[in-house]
Symmetry: C2
Subunit: 299 residues, 2 copies
């Protein structure tokens, strides 16, 4: 395919905070607050934290005691995030275990602008359930109308999706169709201690690949933020990354160390890429109705 | 994620015929027929040819003389394919420039069973238009109802999509939802002679990545078949490959040589992979209605 040079546009520096989490939520929260300040000092305009950064990944077991980790929005964590965003003058994407009501809990991404205002939230839509990831026990799936919603920051239009949402092309597409320029995926995914090297490699490959494919299919930036470190049976594989609108990885973090991953994202690349790879032009919207079905057996 | 060993299931050997095409359609057709025989001798049960294998890739210019390359179905090419399939006792997936009626032309994938019967066809749904790929001039987009249809061969349920269709997650998903176990993508894609090495690399990467992502998202096999060789301004990049249901490449062809790529596809891997990565279980079909829209601006 014949391609011309990129015309430079507005660049937005993002920071992805890849952390290990200890047993003390207050300490994890304090660490995240400090990382937000650091990111701002290093020039970030949008800082994204990993999924459920305030605690260890408690979904490895089904234990009703863990519900006490949840909090309402607004609540202590979102107030802290708002304060950190305003103080550092950066937009912040966080993740909270949300108590929406008695017996009603969500895994929720929250977006604050650089003045500390809550611009929007997205409750995790696709909930996994797999040994060591017993999330269906804890989290009610999101029920917003529409189900996937974009948030306009001064820096960019952003879409947030949470971990398991990352495996579903539908979710990324629906945000891109709303004008999302950057998709953020706060994540907690790791290897089971029994997984051998080949399985580990195939898992991290598939995980990076599916998210890069959302960048390609939609011509937008994709930022994935994962935790690191051993917790119980799982070793979280880090590997946070930023992909450009043609799926090229422009920044990538370690698989085992804490890291602040910075990347300058030239938003001019979005229109440029889509002009050369005009998938949005050619979608067959007349033929996609079956996507709202579970399965399409022939009778 | 904790994973157990794969239970072996039914293995189907596929052959992807990666060819260079000369100026003489009869010679290209004869070469393809010979490759089908070879593939069968080597144990293939399904043979897939590249997009528009009977001619050079004529869409590099808009020239109405090229319409004379088209033929009806049935026509000489599909009769030859049917005969080759029956003689070699293999299923064959071919690609024809179809003349459906006066002034009505399609880019059509055709599927023959091992007895040479036409099991089905898929007219290319998404039509590109880009310098050197002036396909909107030649091809009317497919209009089947439903738009994407699976074909049951004795070997496997197969879905066929054609080249540009490969960039659209919607297409792969709609075939998987109909039970497709293997997706075949006959393709003609290459580098423009002005493209530098970095652009070439990013293009082949994105091309492989988006198709592997369909394997991951849907837990099925993906087989991409591309041509090789220089034709006019384009050098077709070959690189035909087979990906397993977790997106791992299990066979990959050269970027510059003709090749018969064989791969044994264990269909037992499909259910195995989906049990461990149960994306079909968790799709939010209640929230995907917007996918049938062109764009979702807020008012």
């Amino acid at each position: 395919m014949k391609k011309r040079g990129v015309k430079r546009g507005k660049a937005v520096t993002v920071a992805l905070v890849q952390m290990a989490c200890g047993p003390n939520p207050a300490a994890n929260l304090a660490k995240a607050m400090e990382r937000i300040r650091q990111a701002a000092r290093q020039g970030a305009r949008i800082v994204c934290l990993q999924e459920l950064f305030r605690s260890r990944y408690f979904c490895q077991t089904e234990n009703d005691a863990h519900f006490s980790l949840a909090e309402s929005i607004p609540g202590p964590t979102t107030r802290a995030l708002a304060k950190a965003a305003a103080a550092a003058k950066v937009a912040v994407i966080g993740s909270v275990f949300e108590r929406r009501g008695e017996g009603l809990y969500h895994n929720t991404a929250v977006v604050f602008d650089a003045r500390g205002r809550l611009v929007g939230k997205n409750r995790k839509m696709h909930i996994p359930d797999d040994p060591c990831y017993y999330e269906k026990f804890y989290f009610t799936p999101g029920d917003a109308k529409p189900g996937f919603q974009v948030h306009a920051l001064a820096q960019a239009k952003v879409g947030t999706l949470v971990c398991w949402d990352q495996w579903f092309p539908e979710a990324a597409r629906l945000l891109a169709l709303q004008g999302a320029q950057m998709l953020f995926y706060p994540t907690a995914i790791g290897w089971h201690f029994r997984d051998g090297p080949a399985i580990r490699r195939s898992q991290t490959e598939a995980w990076e690949l599916i998210q890069r494919s959302h960048a390609v299919a939609n011509g937008c930036f994709v930022c994935a933020v994962n935790r690191v470190g051993r917790e119980g049976h799982l070793t979280f594989w880090g590997g946070s990354f930023v992909a450009d609108p043609f799926g090229q990885v422009i920044a990538k973090a370690s698989s085992h160390d804490e890291q602040m991953l910075l990347a300058a994202c030239d938003l001019g690349k979005i229109d440029y890429t889509r002009r050369h790879w005009p998938f949005l032009r050619d979608r067959r919207v007349d033929a996609y109705g079956g996507l709202s079905q579970r399965y399409l057996e022939k009778d």
